[in-house]
């Protein structure tokens, strides 16, 4: 890629991994195209209007007298310019209708269905399946196969949230009492970040998620691993860690399938270690971050529903070892 000053400015103004102008799906490509069409047309309109104003200032500030004589010619100009505006708006309207059809037409053939439930302030992800034992539940991280349409069903358990992964499609609100459907499809393998876009309370700022597009084989592998219950701890430290988990407040909210922990208040932790981030896309999933999150969640995300814990150092180390083993 050529590194001119212009492209540097472009990436400064529009770049980034969370940008509307870096599309990675058919829908986002479509929207990106309409955006650039509008950008150039509206940009031209802006420049023309400003030139016309500058011309008026330049020509008329030294005028000797008021000029009524050419008002009828001006009327013709106004009518013509207004007519052009109407035509341009009509083009935009057609682009809007066509674009909407392409981005929101629901593709159900051969589609994977994922249910996304908004919670204050995390995302519950359920991979529906007619066979109950094949249903996968996870949180804040959506794995999808590349090039396959994914039908997303949205709903909310508390307030209104909005699901938005800018590289993949526009946003869709998650409204309590409603279920709506839309679809996404990733063109290339990669990690696409998303975030809640409707104000939902204290931690609206830290309600992110990741969409991870995998090649078909890798996706199937991931799903097969997710269906399994949690791995049995293989040493004493991890066994102690599980004890800590089950005898402390963790167990009141979280599920680890294969243990007694079965509450669905917070995210499912059965395969926590397989995820890239914790705290709804807020922190990288490292041991240090996890320790900080457990002990001090209220300082990282003030007002979120996970209380800060007080654990003895060796209990904490054991818990971290156990959680780190939940691949």
């Amino acid at each position: 890629m050529k590194h001119s000053a212009f492209s540097n400015l472009g990436s400064f103004l529009l770049g980034g991994n969370h940008s509307v102008t870096s599309p990675a799906s058919p829908q986002a490509h479509q929207i990106n195209g309409i955006w650039w069409l509008m950008f150039w047309v509206c940009g031209a309109a802006f420049v023309l209007t400003m030139l016309s104003m500058a011309g008026a200032i330049w020509r008329r500030r030294k005028a000797i007298e008021v000029d009524h004589a050419r008002d009828s010619r001006r009327a013709a100009f106004v009518a013509l310019a207004s007519g052009i505006v109407v035509v341009v708006l009509f083009v935009f309207l057609v682009a809007s209708a066509v674009g909407m059809k392409k981005t929101e037409y629901i593709e159900t053939r051969n589609a994977l269905t994922i249910q996304i439930i908004g919670h204050q302030w995390w995302w519950e992800i359920i991979y529906n399946d007619p066979v109950p034992s094949q249903i996968v539940t996870t949180a804040n991280e959506i794995h999808v196969p590349v090039g396959k349409p994914v039908l997303i069903l949205t709903s909310s358990r508390d307030v209104i949230h909005s699901f938005w992964a800018p590289n993949l499609n526009g946003k869709r609100d998650l409204i309590p009492g409603y279920q709506t459907a839309f679809w996404i499809q990733a063109d290339h393998p990669g990690v696409y970040r998303g975030q809640c876009a409707e104000f939902c309370g204290h931690q609206h700022a830290h309600m992110g998620f990741e969409v991870i597009a995998d090649p078909a084989g890798k996706y199937e592998q991931w799903k097969a691993a997710q269906i399994l219950p949690a791995k049995e701890p293989e040493d004493d430290v991890k066994r102690h860690g599980r004890e800590v988990f089950l005898s402390h407040p963790c167990v009141m909210c979280h599920t680890i399938r294969g243990t007694d922990a079965g509450s669905r208040v917070g995210p499912d932790l059965t395969h926590l270690a397989s995820r890239g981030t914790i705290a709804a896309g807020t922190l990288k999933n490292t041991t240090g971050n996890l320790a900080g999150w457990i002990m001090n969640s209220q300082s990282i995300k003030p007002g979120n529903h996970m209380p800060s814990m007080s654990l003895q150092p060796d209990d904490l180390q054991a818990l971290l070892a156990y959680l780190g083993s939940l691949q």
Partner: protein, 174 residues
């Protein structure tokens, strides 16, 4: 002039009260974590025993956010599973004036932490103490013991009873 003075003082007091009511405390020490003073008798014939008067005031009872958190936890920690929405069923009702192990904040806190015979599990260690005090505050709001501007309004689900703020006060029987 003196009357004006009183009016101003009263007004300021009202405003300060609203400060406390609206505080959002995310991380703050709870009144007390010591349950060793609990004297509730576990006797099967006379459970609860002679309940010593408790002098621990639950500051969360003045705080609408804390009570609301208590209400959320009451649902999410499945207190509703036995006590339902206050009317009781498997466990005793919480919206009336009868308290087997005492209806003062400290009594309710201890009951949650220690558990009680015949079904009430102990949540010691499972629920952080701040949350226990939040639930305690909410439990007392169910029998109308909290100020109306602090007690929760209706929730966004099926209503089976009046919201806590419209509950008729049922002071605990001594």
């Amino acid at each position: 002039m003196k009357r004006l003075y009183f009016i101003v003082i009263g007004f300021v007091a009202l405003l300060l009260a609203s400060c406390e009511r609206e505080q959002r405390r995310f991380q703050q020490g709870a009144p007390s974590t010591d349950t060793s003073q609990s004297h509730a008798s576990m006797d099967e014939i006379y459970p609860g025993g002679a309940r010593p008067p408790s002098n621990v005031a639950n500051v969360y009872e003045e705080n609408a956010y804390m009570v609301s958190e208590g209400k959320r936890l009451y649902e999410q920690y499945n207190c509703v599973g036995c006590h339902f929405h206050g009317g009781g069923g498997i466990g005793p009702p919480l919206m009336d004036a009868d308290w087997i192990y005492g209806g003062e904040p400290q009594n309710i806190h201890d009951t949650i932490v220690e558990g009680r015979p015949n079904g009430m599990p102990s949540f010691r260690g499972k629920i952080p103490d701040q949350q226990v005090w939040e639930i305690t505050a909410y439990v007392r709001s169910m029998s109308g013991l909290l100020r109306k501007d602090v007690a929760p309004g209706r929730s966004d689900d099926m209503s089976i009873k009046k919201p806590e703020e419209s509950q008729k006060p049922e002071p605990p029987k001594k």
